[in-house]
């Protein structure tokens, strides 16, 4: 890319990483028992807890991916950040307080305690690990992308750095230290995205708020040179004379060439120089949206242009209902002192996320104005990193560029830590031991290494899409289990197991086909790329129907369980056998 990262970015990333380790080590002095490790002894106030939840939640997908998607697809993908935030409203309305009152440590604990089934517990463990790893992959890959964008380091370096730092930190400190780290990360991320945004707004304003939704596709507003890092096929809307240095369309080129409209193959390392006013070519497969189509709803379908309405509703369902099923989100609720605190914490989280998500949209939109060349390679995930330098230039642009790089690294570190804590939590209690501190450390090492190995293998996997698929799996498995488990007396262990397996198998199949299979068009493509709209209803239906068919096996102590879940703790009801 001609627009390169700031020279201060690497030092900023190092500072964030060292601070993370330092705060983690500070917290370590307080971590003593297993309970400290897993749920921070439940002594964290709502304000701290909410900052920590938000810090943990704002991942590579939120910090980089949302802006990248907005830049590519426009209005339709605004549902991603809205859904990421609205997931906490669903959590608040249906899950937060009862889940805390259940007193269970982890999702498998909840499943077993509510329905008394070991089989259900084992499958819950399986899905916690699957969702956790699925969500860890894009964090590590985001780290690889960031370091490559900023320093030119090979892709695997960033992934390994984040993977190792997080694994060591979690294995040594557990969650108590992580709570401090996460709370710090939220405020760092907010600062990192909000301060440059303020300056970007000034630049945009000084240009008279240039319209982003005009009839044209983005154009270069000055002569721009673009270096292609990985081989790519681009589509030209109209013939163009440009200067090419490298290997393109099967031949060595050095100098001006006239390209016809249509496809052009460009090899890695080639430098393209576009004249002022040229239309920006788009990577093959990415529609060249005019400003009008980009700005209007249902124009791009967020990458599913054939059936935008279905894709939009499926996305809404996955994000609204998937949040409550993400293991690293739920584990935080056990650190609230009681059910009411859990509710208040969630409300603060809604506010913190609402403020944060105002900004990625702005970056994505302004990216079309100031860094349109990202559309050539399709790597719009880098827009947040490159925009400050491109739009502001000079020392200010470089300093702000370093700030967003630090924020991005905070995002990978915090989300990966949270995921690792929850995955190692269930691994250490259910698979690899009995939940001692030593088991937890061993489990954390395994839980961190597996996705690291996979991430180093798969170079190109779309960050935001994998995250969306993780939401779809969570919404199709743990969401129905939690909601029906909390509110419906008729749920049976057989019904829950059948529903979780049905929703999990269907959504996982969709994930695997989408990620590893070929591109599918039409209905099969959209049904697999955005599976939630059919897998979530199927999961709920199977839970209900099978539970009704096995109604004789409703747990006999269901009345007491309902009392425990819904009565305020201060009454002390349902908590001890009456004397």
């Amino acid at each position: 890319m001609a627009v390169s990262g700031s020279p201060y970015a690497l030092p900023a990333i190092i500072v964030v990483t060292v601070l993370t380790i330092g705060i983690g080590a500070y917290g370590l002095r307080f971590s003593r028992t297993t309970s400290d490790f897993l749920v921070a002894s439940r002594s964290i106030s709502p304000g701290w807890n909410a900052s920590a939840i938000s810090g943990e939640y704002l991942s590579a997908a939120s910090f980089l991916g949302v802006a990248g998607l907005v830049m590519k697809y426009g209005a339709d993908v605004l549902w991603y950040p809205v859904g990421f935030a609205a997931g906490y409203l669903a959590l608040l309305l249906f899950v937060a307080a009862p889940l805390r009152r259940s007193g269970a440590f982890t999702l498998p604990d909840f499943a077993e305690a509510r329905l008394g089934s070991r089989a259900l517990r084992r499958w819950s463990v399986f899905f916690v690990v699957v969702i956790g790893w699925l969500y860890l992959l894009p964090q590590l890959q985001g780290a690889g992308l960031t370091l490559r964008t900023l320093t030119g380091a090979p892709y695997w370096v960033g992934a390994v750095v984040v993977g190792v730092v997080v694994t060591v930190n979690v294995a040594n400190g557990g969650m108590r230290s992580i709570t401090f780290v996460q709370a710090f990360q939220y405020w760092l991320k907010l600062t990192a995205i909000a301060v440059p945004a303020f300056f970007l707004l000034i630049v945009w304003q000084s240009g008279g708020f240039a319209d982003l939704s005009g009839g044209q596709a983005p154009t270069f507003d000055e002569q721009t040179s673009v270096r292609v890092d990985t081989g790519v096929t681009v589509v030209l809307g109209e013939p163009l004379t440009l200067s090419v240095d490298g290997f393109a369309d099967g031949a060595d080129v050095d100098g001006p060439v006239r390209w016809t409209a249509g496809d052009h193959q460009i090899a890695a390392g080639t430098v393209l120089v576009f004249p002022d006013g040229a239309a920006v070519p788009h990577v093959s497969g990415l529609p060249a949206l005019s400003g009008q189509t980009w700005a209007a709803p249902l124009g791009s379908g967020g990458g599913s242009p054939d059936h935008p309405l279905f894709a939009t509703y499926s996305l809404i369902l996955a994000t609204f209902l998937g949040t409550m099923g993400l293991p690293h989100v739920l584990v935080r609720f056990y650190t609230n002192p009681d059910g009411r605190a859990a509710r208040r914490t969630t409300l603060i989280v809604l506010a913190l996320l609402g403020v944060f998500y105002l900004f990625p949209t702005l970056y994505g939109a302004l990216g079309r104005l100031y860094t349109p060349q990202l559309l050539i390679t399709g790597q719009t995930d880098a827009v947040v990193l490159l925009l400050p330098g491109a739009a502001l230039g000079g020392l200010l642009g470089q300093v702000l560029g370093a700030l967003v790089a630090a924020g991005a690294f905070a995002a990978f570190l915090s989300t990966a830590s949270g995921l690792l804590v929850s995955v190692s939590g269930v691994l250490s209690t259910d698979v690899m031991g009995r939940g001692s501190v030593r088991d937890f450390r061993r489990a954390a090492t395994v839980a961190g290494l597996v996705p690291l190995v996979i991430a180093a293998q798969i170079d190109r996997l779309d960050v935001s899409q994998v995250v969306g698929l993780a939401f779809a799996v969570a919404a199709s498995t743990f969401c129905p289990l939690l909601v029906l488990g909390i509110w419906w007396r008729g749920l049976t262990a057989v019904g829950a197991l059948a529903g979780v397996l049905a929703g999990g198998a269907l959504s996982l199949t969709a994930v695997l086909v989408t990620v590893f299979g070929g591109e599918l068009d039409g209905w099969p493509g959209v049904l697999l790329a955005q599976p939630a709209a059919w897998t979530v209803p199927v999961a709920f239906a199977v839970l209900v129907v099978v539970s009704k068919a096995t109604a004789a096996r409703i747990p006999p102590n269901i009345g007491r369980t309902m009392l425990l879940l819904h009565a305020p703790e201060s009454l002390g009801l349902g908590r001890a056998t009456p004397s």
Partner: protein
């Protein structure tokens, strides 16, 4: 309390009744019924769960009505996408900015109402008695 439990006993003892004392006894009686899963206890807890669920569902309905209908509205009336309000296209204003305060307000209403429902339940059940706040399941 034991006086109230003596229903099936030989001869009910005469007890002195004053208003305050009666309220306390009445409340503690509910607590015991809840703990022992009697029918009265069942009704009390079912009422609590139903009230909380109705609250959650109605607030979810508000969000579905205000946010969930937007894609259909944009599909049926594409012209909505071209309407400018405060210098922004309507979809960008609604989804990029206004959705977040809406989610917060709905959440705030939920917290307030859910705590009210719990307070009413607590009043019906009675004063706190050896609170075992953080007890584990079972």
């Amino acid at each position: 309390m034991d006086s109230l439990e003596a229903d099936g006993g030989p001869a009910p003892r005469r007890v002195r009744v004053d208003l305050a004392g009666r309220a306390v006894r009445r409340a503690s009686y509910s607590r015991q019924e809840l703990e022992e899963q009697t029918q009265v206890g069942e009704v009390l807890i079912r009422g609590l769960v139903r009230a909380q669920l109705a609250l959650a569902l109605s607030l979810a309905g508000v969000v579905i009505l205000l946010l969930g209908t937007l894609p259909i509205a944009f599909a049926l009336f594409p012209a909505l996408g071209d309407v400018y309000v405060l210098g922004l296209r309507l979809p960008w204003l609604l989804l990029g900015i206004l959705a977040y305060p809406l989610l917060y307000v709905v959440g705030w209403l939920h917290v307030r109402q859910a705590e009210r429902i719990e307070d009413d339940f607590s009043k019906a059940v009675g004063p706190t008695q050896d609170p075992e706040t953080n007890g584990p399941w079972q």
